[in-house]
């Protein structure tokens, strides 16, 4: 399956040169002494212009961060549990922020409930070397939430049914 191309907002914010930068770097930066100079040359702009634009893309959130994206599975983090929590709507923002700061949580989102069968409005993906470690970390979140936790569950993955590049992997 081919990696999905980046789709860019058609309006404002970014222009054709930014799009070229995204296309040129979506699979990664070249591993050389001067990666930005190489990319700038490839696009046909000067390095300062490229650096300015990358800073801008980072400031407006199109680039989350730049660096090493580890393969967590290979690093031994083989268990992932999607922990889901039912917390009051008035508290969800603060609690979500608190959970997001834990270093074992990769994503933390507020999502809609579907009552009665799905009461959970806060999702936190927890990674660990094995299930016990994930459950231990879920217990830490439980402690953090205290009485604000009105119910939770952990959904372990049983099988990967499909995996294609969402984040424009190579």
């Amino acid at each position: 399956m081919q990696a999905r191309n980046i789709i860019v907002k058609p309006d404002a914010l970014i222009d054709d040169i930014d799009r070229k930068i995204i296309t040129a770097t979506q699979a990664g930066l070249p591993l050389v002494r001067d990666p930005y100079r190489v990319v700038a040359e490839q696009i046909g702009i000067d390095t300062h212009e490229l650096l300015k634009r990358i800073n801008h893309l980072q400031q407006c959130g199109i680039i989350r961060r730049i660096g090493i994206i580890p393969n967590h599975y290979k690093l031994g983090y083989r268990a992932n549990g999607m922990s889901v929590w039912n917390v009051a709507d008035t508290l969800v923002q603060q609690l979500g922020h608190d959970i997001g700061q834990l270093d074992f949580v990769s994503h933390c989102y507020r999502r809609p409930r579907f009552l009665p069968e799905w009461p959970y409005n806060l999702f936190a993906m927890v990674h660990g070397h094995d299930r016990d470690e994930v459950m231990h970390k879920v217990a830490l979140i439980d402690q953090l939430l205290g009485e604000s936790n009105q119910g939770h569950d952990v959904l372990f993955s049983r099988r990967i049914l499909k995996k294609t590049g969402l984040r424009l992997q190579e």
Partner: protein
Amino acid sequence: MELSLIDKQIMNHLQGGFPVCENPWDAISSQLGIDVDQLIERIETMQQAGFISRFGPLYNAHEMGGGLSLAAMQIDADDFDRVADIVNGFQQVAHNYEREHQLNMWFVIATEFPYQVAEVIQQIEDSTGYRVYNMPKQEEYFLGLRFEL
């Protein structure tokens, strides 16, 4: 291959961020006490060995203007593989996981434009005969995962 101490230090350091400047390696090189060529060579080696998925910018798909959502379905056990084939057949379905819950199928839908998410969900419901629970993110509390080594 086993990661050495310096490999782990490089991994820990560079998950945090790579400088945006003309000589981005210099500061990392002096902080870790390894010369630039060696540093680059270690990253290359770790990437080839599969410890590093990618080196470079991590783009935020949501900020790109496309549609993105998480969806779940409750599928009967004896019907699961049939439905999985149908769902996976949609090009807009990126990741799909079987999870241990009554809602046992969870997948990410990514479309070129936001309005297309609802269309894809409708098509999946029509072609499978099961309800799709659409759970787009309403807010994000993301501060960046680090795998400390």
